[in-house]
């Protein structure tokens, strides 16, 4: 069959898989985004001893294959089945989608925390001092000064991380989640038509391309008070001309 026929015959499944990939990626990134600001603050401010457990967690998540993390959660939970059943959690761990989501969220939390920590450390001291000087509380400083700026600094790296997460979500197919990759392998095992892989590749590239465009819109919105780059200076730089 030619590639077009394959696409016509199987598009409902590919669409289904695409929605699953988007769902996994979006939820995984969202859960990680809920936890990473707090953890990033700990990484940026806590004493080395206090943040040792967090550093261990981040190092583990970054130093092991996501596939291993996924297997550890999905298959590994079986070893604790009696406990999990007692706690009423077995139903959660039996579902491959939940396990994949948990693995991706845990993994992405580690990466997002490190990225956001870099953003927080990149906020100029003077901004925080100025906020203190005009009498902002700690919470106000975090909400109005540190985090808006930290996110603006971290934004491109966060976008990269979400793309990496989207790519990693294809691993969920290994534990029988029917995302794009899962559907593709299913269709290939029936039709033995190679072109289905090329359609899958095209879908992944389209998702990435659309995401990059959306993310740039977000970046422009976060930086809208700075003005166009061509002016060559931010509102924070000192006025030109001779100083009084």
């Amino acid at each position: 069959m030619n590639p077009i026929d394959i696409a016509i015959q199987y598009w409902p499944r590919l669409l289904d898989g695409t929605l699953m990939t988007i769902k996994l990626t979006f939820l995984g990134a969202l859960i990680a985004a809920l936890f990473s600001p707090g953890l990033a603050l700990i990484r940026a401010n806590a004493t080395p001893v206090a943040q040792a457990p967090l550093r261990l967690y981040i190092s583990f998540m970054r130093g092991t294959p996501i596939l291993g993390q996924l297997f550890l959660i999905y298959y590994g939970s079986g070893q604790f089945r009696p406990f999990l059943q007692d706690w009423g959690l077995w139903g959660f761990f039996r579902d491959p989608f939940n396990c994949a989501l948990l693995a991706f969220a845990l993994n992405s939390t580690a990466y997002q925390t490190e990225i956001l920590r870099g953003g927080i450390l990149g906020v100029a001291r003077g901004e925080v001092e100025a906020a203190k000087a005009i009498g902002m509380t700690r919470l106000q400083i975090l909400r109005r000064v540190i985090f808006p700026h930290a996110y603006r600094i971290a934004w491109p790296a966060l976008g990269n991380e979400i793309i990496l997460l989207m790519k990693a979500s294809a691993l969920a197919s290994v534990v029988t989640v029917f995302d794009i990759m899962g559907r593709t392998r299913q269709i290939f095992s029936r039709s033995f038509d190679f072109s289905i892989y090329l359609w899958a590749a095209l879908i992944y590239l389209c998702i990435t391309a659309i995401f990059v465009l959306l993310w740039r819109q977000g970046e422009a919105r976060l930086s809208r008070h700075i003005g166009p780059r061509s002016e060559g200076r931010s509102i924070l730089s000192p006025p030109e001309g001779p100083q009084p």
Binding site: G63, P65, G68, F71, Y75, Q79, K167, L171, M181, Y197
Partner: protein
């Protein structure tokens, strides 16, 4: 528990070490191939010819946007089909050619590594100081000599941190080959889990081994970076 991990018939220590050996072979064979693809991609995307540039940029952009596991399946299934078609055309009625999982794993990992390395190397070449090349020309060095004496040693210095990250990513990505039935660390772990029914213990062990490899790599890379930068004044 330690009996399970011991060496010999009773334990799984030897099987897992054999898997680790395959994982290391895979990574060590992939590295030079990936670097080669990376250099080719970098030169293509810096070429004077628009066509070559498009090929270089197209390759790195597409490869970096695809999930590694998809690339692996495309290579494993696709190249196998292609080889068989070629074989059938060359020698109709001949035997099927098997594209080994090891070859497929190395090819796919090297293609991914090469795409990312291409970007790292391009960035490194472009951050070289143009004046040094002019100086080289001024004292009459040939382009070849300029490349090997001035550009390459410094590209190494600029590219090392990026390439180090790629090495660690590739080391972790080798776990994917367990899906196409290559007996690497991850797959031997799976076999052990199937027999012992202790999935958490064994997958944790596998993760700890990968972790140790990554931490060891980081130490070695930090040493290499210090060495590469030994002649540079710290600003």
């Amino acid at each position: 528990m330690f009996e399970l991990l011991s060496y010999g018939d009773a334990g799984w220590g030897d099987e897992i070490l054999a898997g680790l050996a395959i994982t290391m072979q895979l990574a060590v064979v992939t590295l030079p191939m990936g670097l080669l693809i990376g250099f080719v991609a970098a030169f293509a995307s810096m070429s004077r010819h628009a066509g070559l540039r498009a090929v270089g940029y197209g390759y790195t952009t597409i490869m970096r946007g695809l999930p590694e596991i998809l690339t692996l399946f495309v290579v494993y299934n696709g190249v196998g089909l292609l080889l068989n078609k070629l074989a059938a055309w060359w020698n109709p009625g001949g035997t099927n050619i098997e594209f080994s999982p090891f070859a497929a794993g190395v090819t796919a990992l090297a293609m991914v590594f090469g795409a990312f390395a291409g970007e790292v190397l391009r960035g490194a070449f472009q951050s070289l100081d143009e004046g040094q090349m002019e100086a080289g020309r001024a004292i009459g060095m040939s382009p070849r000599k300029i490349f090997f004496r001035i550009r390459l040693p410094q590209v190494w210095r600029f590219a090392l941190p990026g390439l180090g990250n790629l090495w660690i990513n590739m080391l972790k990505d080798t776990a994917l080959v367990s899906i196409i039935a290559l007996d690497d660390l991850m797959r031997m772990t799976k076999v052990a889990v199937g027999v012992t029914k202790q999935p958490f213990t064994f997958y944790l062990l596998a993760c700890l081994i990968y972790w140790a490899l990554c931490l060891l790599s980081e130490v070695v890379l930090a040493y290499m970076e210090r060495r590469a930068n030994r002649g540079i004044r710290r600003v």
